[in-house]
């Protein structure tokens, strides 16, 4: 068994607590800002949610999916392909925005 090392029940429970707290924080901020601070800058709020979601994704991958306990080479060569998504996201969001600009400029 390659991944027997590392994870303990204590770590599992710690990860559960982290995921729960982050989720509650996200919902709480969404509700409070939505109800009491409608003028709060939307981009900052969204950035906050994205960062917290990436944090959750990290904990799920590292602890629950054992990536923290695999060899460095395996982690690198498995996940490196996801780097392609960075440009995919930037390009397609830019594209979407261009459609909006075109539509509102030319009808």
């Amino acid at each position: 068994m390659s991944a027997e090392g590392g994870i303990t029940k204590q770590i599992i429970m710690k990860t559960l607590v982290i995921l729960s707290v982050v989720t509650i924080l996200e919902i709480g901020v969404a509700l409070i800002i939505g109800a009491y601070f409608p003028t709060f800058p939307k981009w900052l709020l969204n950035l906050f949610f994205v960062v917290l979601s990436l944090l959750k994704a990290f904990y799920i991958t590292a602890e629950f999916m054992h990536m923290k306990y695999e060899t460095k080479g395996f982690v690198f060569w498995t996940l490196i392909g996801l780097v392609l998504l960075v440009w995919f996201i930037i390009a397609m969001l830019y594209e979407g925005n261009s459609w909006l600009v075109n539509n509102s400029t030319w009808g």
Binding site: I7, S20, F49, V50, S53, E63, M65, N97
Partner: protein
């Protein structure tokens, strides 16, 4: 490095009995599948982003997802989806505990935690069915979005020109992406049931190796991982 030194250093690798990256074949292939599946989901979610950026107005999640099944009124934003998220997180934890007990050769523990995981998955699917039913009753479909800039509107009012509908893309993306995720949950539950049956029959006890639990566990956690981003894009942003 001289040829002898290389032979000394790596020669035994080709003699068999070792694994690249110290990972077994099945697990590595599961990871490769998950990466390809991640690209599928990423593409869908990026399409969501593109269409949302191209829309001049988009419904506010707090005004769309604001009810709990069986509870009267529509002043409970995000409560039901929070319950769904927690069901999925907890079922992920019970899956980790099943893998943990598998590593320690504890058959009873594996069975117990697998049963909890399956119940969690089924509960999530039930919740999703309730949510879909509710939204469909409100009028959301692949062709019409009742969540317009002036609140909930009917198709008749929009046809008569007295109200403005929301962007149709919203319903299409919502049903397609949560549906695709739900299909993954469903297949995850089916796979978990198969593995549970195998465990009960002592298949892994006989082979002395519970790595299969870990492989299906990877798939199950991946479903949870995708939900993090579905939750982010549909319910938070």
């Amino acid at each position: 490095m001289s040829a002898e030194a290389i032979t000394q250093k790596v020669g035994n690798i080709w003699g068999g009995g070792t694994r690249p990256f110290n990972v077994r074949y099945g697990k590595m292939m599961m990871w490769f599948f998950l990466i390809s599946d991640a690209f599928t989901f990423a593409t869908l979610l990026i399409v969501y982003g593109t269409l949302r950026f191209s829309a001049d107005w988009w419904p506010e999640p707090l005004n769309v997802f604001n009810t709990i099944p069986g509870v009267h009124g529509n002043s409970y934003p995000l409560v039901f989806v929070t319950i769904m998220t927690f069901i999925l997180i907890v079922s992920s934890v019970t899956m980790v505990l099943a893998v943990y007990d598998g590593h320690h050769g504890n058959k009873k523990g594996v069975i117990k935690w697998m049963v909890y995981t399956i119940i969690g998955g089924a509960a999530f699917l039930g919740c999703q069915a309730l949510e879909w039913t509710h939204l469909i009753h409100e009028g959301l479909s692949l062709y019409f979005n009742p969540f317009g800039p002036d609140g909930l509107v009917t198709k008749e009012a929009v046809m008569a020109g007295t109200a403005v509908a929301g962007p149709t893309h919203f319903g299409q993306l919502f049903f397609f992406i949560t549906g695709f995720h739900g299909t993954h949950v469903l297949s995850g539950v089916v796979i978990n049931i198969i593995i549970l049956v195998n465990t009960v029959n002592g298949v892994y006890e006989k082979s002395g190796d519970y790595e299969m639990i870990e492989k299906v566990g990877l798939y199950w956690h991946f479903v949870d991982l995708v939900w993090v981003f579905v939750f982010l894009l549909f319910y938070l942003i």
